[in-house]
């Protein structure tokens, strides 16, 4: 195999002090460092928000529990949701995009390196501002602390009358800042993908990661303004006496929901498509076959992006829209399932006839496939409007979206982690710790989120700080909590692995997985300039062409 012939190099910066390294991070505009900073910060927020989830689960483990006060609980689920979506999810998307897109397109850096750095610091500041609310938000008579209005902050609960103090303001301002960061990052990724591709890399020769990042970032450009607009309107309501969502003045509470979900639904696709991208890069390499139906994968993703902006009101089926409105959004929701299903089949087609290696990146991808299948099916159930009238705002829907976000997004990100960590750090993650992480996390995930569907079916609403005994929810909630503890332990193992392997991991070499895209052609970690000279490619898998000169891809594409 070609990988055996590659010289093993591990680049180390000669003897920089801690302060010098920190300074290097503060002033850097290098996409690789910034990508790692995004990812590292995201993992910190993952830990904090994850601990909140554990606290929530401990409170709900038994009925009528008094571990957490109602207000504390309500703040926890708000902060958990807000952090996970914006400070973990969007940051991981930015991190992976910033790190990989220039490397995979043979570019030297992003199109706008300084803008890249600006985006990261906006994100960090926004995230810190959100948590500062615990200290800074108390207003009149001590009201206010961290936001407690839920991560989608429905009006008029967020109005001055019902949300006293400054909690909601912190929610708004911190997200406006992180949105600037995300928007700027999106512009950068798109400019890089379109304008900085190396010679020979036509759009249809870009790695799927890059294509899917393009679609994702387009969606960011179109979806994030809806949230920012709604938040600016809310600020105008709260501070300038506006009436956008003031029902006393004839304003509409429903229009907040419309605006929010016009952002919110594309947002969840913005999160999942990069996970699709990781899977689309990893499954071919570990099946030893090219991705099945590359053009269809591109097209299906573009279709998902397009259709996903028309499904938003499926979060609002109980709001009282007309039967025509409800039917329209049901139809669009079902339609978005078609290209999603096609992608699953294409991954299946990639593995079929291959020689599947069950290394850690692939294990996470396999779990992803089963889990996303289930998540997609429960999503379809939720699209059946009458069924939705029972399931929405219950623990069934909480189980569904955690299935997509943890079982789909997080598993995809973990797969990407195990796959690209060796490239970024120069050392492989420890395999044994990794297996423990995988099995413990998968076990805990299923224990929690499989079980969680049932309280929903038995009538348990979401966002409740406690519940009465005798509703049939007790044991189910206890089991759910136990699974959460397993997941927490697994993530701890993962964190240990990341830190330990940076020093003690096996040196990776350029191409430990025998892969085919450009990032594997340079050292691990890559030098600051990425490639000694601009590469030239003739197919989708330039390294395959190199390793198999007798049977290159460009003969068949």
């Amino acid at each position: 195999m070609a990988s055996r012939e590659i010289a093993i190099t591990v680049e180390r910066q000669p003897g920089l002090s801690f302060v010098e390294r920190l300074h290097g991070l503060v002033v850097t505009v290098d996409h690789k460092k910034l990508g790692l900073m995004y990812v590292g910060t995201a993992l910190c927020f993952l830990g904090v928000a994850g601990l909140m989830a554990v606290a929530i689960r401990l409170q709900l483990a038994v009925p009528n529990n008094t571990l957490l006060e109602p207000d504390v609980f309500n703040r926890f689920f708000t902060m958990h949701g807000t952090s996970m979506v914006f400070l973990v999810g969007m940051a991981l998307v930015s991190g992976f995009g910033n790190y990989l897109v220039p490397l995979m397109t043979g570019a030297r850096d992003m199109a706008f390196p300084r803008l890249n750095a600006f985006g990261y610091w906006m994100y960090l500041f926004g995230g810190l501002l959100l948590y500062f609310s615990y200290l800074g938000a108390p207003g009149l008579a001590g009201h206010g602390s961290a936001p407690d209005v839920g991560w989608f902050a429905y009006a008029p609960l967020t109005g001055r009358a019902f949300s006293r103090g400054h909690s909601t303001d912190y929610w708004i301002l911190s997200l406006l800042l992180t949105s600037v960061g995300s928007t700027v990052s999106a512009i950068n990724v798109l400019a890089t993908a379109f304008a900085l591709r190396c010679k020979g890399m036509t759009l249809m020769r870009m790695p799927l990661m890059v294509w899917l990042m393009v679609v994702t970032n387009f969606m960011i450009l179109l979806a994030l303004p809806a949230l920012s607009a709604a938040q600016i309107m809310l600020l105008i309501d709260r501070y300038l006496g506006g009436h956008f969502f003031d029902t006393q003045a004839g304003g509409s509470a429903v229009i907040w929901q419309h605006f929010f979900w016009i952002f919110g639904h594309p947002e969840v696709y913005i999160l999942i498509i990069p996970a699709f991208a990781c899977v689309s890069e990893i499954v071919p390499v570990f099946s030893r076959k090219p991705i099945f139906g590359y053009p269809v994968m591109v097209g299906a993703t573009a279709m998902i992006g397009l259709i996903s902006v028309s499904v938003w009101a499926h979060h609002m089926f109980s709001v009282g829209m007309t039967s025509v409105g409800n039917t329209f959004f049901a139809i669009s929701t079902f339609m978005v399932a078609v290209p999603t299903g096609i992608k699953i089949f294409n991954w299946l087609g990639t593995m079929y006839g291959g020689r599947i290696r069950f290394d850690l990146p692939m294990l996470f991808c396999i779990a992803f496939l089963f889990q996303f299948l289930i998540a997609g099916l429960t999503g379809m159930m939720l699209g059946v409007v009458p069924f939705n009238w029972q399931l929405t705002d219950s623990y069934f829907v909480v189980a569904h979206f955690h299935y997509t976000l943890v079982g789909g997004f997080l598993f995809g990100m973990f797969a990407g982690f195990y796959y690209w960590y060796p490239k970024a750090v120069g050392r492989l993650l420890d395999r044994r710790l990794g297996l423990w992480h995988f099995w413990l996390f998968t076990f805990g995930f299923h224990l929690t989120f499989d079980t969680m569907h049932f309280p929903g079916l038995l009538g348990m609403p979401r966002r409740v700080f406690t519940y009465d005994a005798g509703r049939g929810w007790d044991t189910l909630n206890l089991i759910t909590t136990l699974g959460a503890l397993c997941q927490a332990a697994a993530v701890l193992l993962f964190a240990i692995n990341i830190v330990r392997s940076a020093r003690k991991g096996k040196p990776a070499g350029n191409d430990p997985w025998d892969a085919w895209t450009l990032e594997w052609a340079t050292t691990s970690p890559p030098p600051e300039y990425n490639f000694e000279a601009e590469p030239v490619v003739r197919s989708r898998r330039p390294l395959w062409d190199l390793k198999h000169p007798e049977d290159p891809d460009w003969k068949y594409e």
Partner: protein, 354 residues
């Protein structure tokens, strides 16, 4: 090592998912046809009313379709993982590099589209059926107004105002007396969800939503507020009491009466009217006409206090009047800082409001 891993994969996947399916089936077929909901179990698959029954039928069809899809696709995935795993001796060569196949892509595009088409038909029919129902002549009309964190219930045609408990007559035996509800809110968004009767419908300020249900079995049906509405969202329970028609008429007659003047509770009455209780509460037939809090005219006829936060017993009532924050922290009834004596007197007055 890799072989063992893949087997472990099978070993863990299949039972976990089998359990999931089994539990789903158990839930779907859970229990006997209930008299109301015994012990408070509110299983959406044990409906005792339209439209919950129609929803269940649609849901089971969809569940069936999804189960079949899961078995087929999951089975294919499992098969692929086992059949095409890397075996020792595969080191030297790469498998045939297939780039795609238009026919296969077409096939697995058309099939999902057909399934989607079926789902669209089923869904739109059920939506129209449920949403476009018009009120029959014998229907009971009620208006439910959501407050933080209790339910105001008015029967405009019957002249009744109560709280947290909705009484409706049972349909059945050829008599249809569905309940048609108007849903409104006095403050933030709430949602009315009694799983065994109907799906949920939101209560949104500055908006009127409509829903209906037609229960056939008498009993007490539990429900919850299903839209996060602030601190005590979790303790905003609904009870729908479905009564045989004669019992319902008796209840209506009792509720229509104004509060009786009981001689024994004069002291308590005086304390009640001296304090600012009257600013928030209405007791029909007296000068207490406050509307911020629940109507207390027939407080003792209700099963619970504070929207299900406590049972309606003398001890709970005493605890509630003394310090509402103790039973439901964050609720909008303040602690009136009364002495024990005053509390007792008020409670004895309230206990006359049958």
């Amino acid at each position: 090592m890799q072989l063992r891993l893949s087997l472990h994969r099978r070993l863990l996947r299949a039972p976990a998912l089998l359990c999931f399916c089994a539990a789903l089936i158990v839930i779907a077929g859970h229990g006997e046809p209930a008299f109301g909901n015994p012990g408070g179990i509110t299983n959406i698959f044990r409906p005792l009313s339209q439209p919950a029954q129609e929803i269940k039928e649609t849901s089971l069809l969809v569940l069936g379709i999804c189960a079949v899809i899961f078995v087929i696709v999951g089975g294919l995935l499992t098969y692929t993982l086992v059949r095409f795993r890397h075996r020792a001796g595969d080191e030297a060569s790469e498998p045939p590099q297939i780039y795609g196949s238009n026919q296969i892509e077409l096939a697995w595009t058309v099939l999902p589209i057909l399934i989607v088409f079926v789902l669209i038909l089923v869904t739109s029919r059920t939506i129209a059926d449920i949403q476009n129902r018009k009120a029959a002549p014998g229907a009971v009309h009620a208006t439910v107004v959501g407050h933080q964190w209790w339910w105001e219930i008015r029967y405009p045609e019957l002249g009744i105002v109560t709280a947290n408990e909705l009484h409706v007559p049972a349909s059945g035996g050829g008599i249809r007396r569905p309940a048609f509800l108007k849903l409104q809110s006095a403050d933030v968004a709430h949602s009315f969800w009694v799983p065994q009767l109907a799906g949920k419908t939101d209560l949104i300020p500055n908006r009127v939503n409509l829903m209906w249900f037609a229960p056939t079995e008498p009993g007490t049906y539990l429900g919850n507020c299903a839209e996060y509405c602030g601190t005590q969202h979790a303790r905003m329970l609904i009870r729908v009491v479905v009564q045989p028609p004669e019992e319902f008429e008796r209840w209506v007659a009792e509720q229509q009466r104004a509060a009786a003047e009981e001689p024994g509770a004069q002291a308590g009455r005086r304390v009640f009217f001296a304090n600012s209780c009257v600013n928030c509460h209405t007791i029909r037939g007296t000068s207490a006409q406050g509307v911020f809090g629940p109507d207390l005219t027939h407080l003792m006829s209700r099963l619970t206090l504070a929207a299900g936060a406590a049972p309606n017993t003398p001890d709970s009532l005493r605890a509630w009047v003394r310090d509402p924050q103790g039973l439901k922290v964050g609720c909008l009834m303040p602690n009136m800082q009364m002495t024990d004596g005053e509390v007792d007197q008020i409670v004895s007055y309230l206990q006359t409001l049958k």
